[in-house]
């Protein structure tokens, strides 16, 4: 399934190679890296295995066409947006629903580890410990088991009785709330 000899080349380098000689084979190698993810995204929105497969093929075509027209900076985020847009358009055609199309300006740059925050380790960890206590019981329980005790979703599900989807949601929301709480506390400290 992997492209083997090209594994060491980054997405950006493959794109550069394509822009240099306009050989679509580079795009083929690049897009292959995301086939499984695209299949999953299409399935999530379209809820049909055959439509998901067709969706991936159409996303490939769309990507190949669009990449000829303009340069893309954050390929992975861009491809995700193309796939989501394709699915939303499909759903709109199917159900007549109004789907909001994302445009290039909304592509977020990939997030990087917030080094500054991590450098203030001890203080941040203190804040985190206190903030953890402020989460609701379910989020607190799942975040603790996941991040501190390094349990998998299935182990957490077994231990707590929550479904896998609930576990996932409690961890995601708990993580987001923790970040908000810490940022709030850091701001308050700055103002004092």
């Amino acid at each position: 399934m992997t492209t083997g000899k090209y594994d060491h080349i980054t997405d950006q380098e493959l794109l550069e190679k394509f822009y240099a000689d306009r050989n679509n084979e580079w795009l083929g190698i690049l897009l292959q890296r995301y086939t499984l993810l695209l299949l999953g995204v299409c399935m999530k929105y379209l809820k049909n295995e055959e439509e998901a497969k067709d969706g991936v093929q159409q996303v490939f075509l769309k990507a190949i066409q669009e990449l000829q027209k303009y340069k893309v900076e954050y390929f992975k985020s861009w491809l995700y947006m193309v796939a989501k847009n394709h699915c939303l358009m499909k759903l709109r055609d199917k159900h007549g629903k109004i789907a909001t199309e994302l445009n290039n300006e909304t592509i977020p740059a990939p997030e990087e580890t917030d080094k500054k925050k991590l450098q203030q380790t001890d203080h941040t960890l203190d804040l985190m410990e206190s903030s953890l206590q402020e989460l609701n019981t379910e989020q607190q329980q799942c975040v603790t088991l996941f991040y501190l005790q390094k349990k998998s979703y299935s182990e957490i599900s077994e231990a707590t009785g929550f479904s896998m989807m609930q576990v996932k949601s409690y961890i995601q929301n708990g993580k987001r709330n923790l970040k908000i709480l810490i940022e709030k506390k850091l701001k308050e400290e700055m103002n004092q």
Binding site: I64, Y80, Y147
Partner: protein
Amino acid sequence: MRENLKDILSHLTTDIDQETLLLYLQDKLPEDKKHEVEKKLVDSEFAGDAMEGLQQFSDKHQLSYTVEMLNRDLKKKTEKKKQRRQKLVLKDQSWLYLAIFILLLLIVISYLIIHRMLQS
């Protein structure tokens, strides 16, 4: 254990390779590896969405075959254009050779005609 709290603030940008993702879906990974994959899934919206969708497939063991088929189709699409382009280049060159040949032939014929006319 306190140090593990740092993982909550960090944003792991490392990608999950497709093989690992498939093994995760087929429940073939040990618990610690599963946890590693899940940590990356929490951090990546793309991978998180994809996982949600992939879990809805009825036969997870068919997924690698499906991916293989999609990749094969993609390869055909990206190769075809290259071949077509190569054919076009060859075609263009053959026209060029033909034009040069005809031109040379015309020059020779013209020379012969003029030469004979001058002689007579």
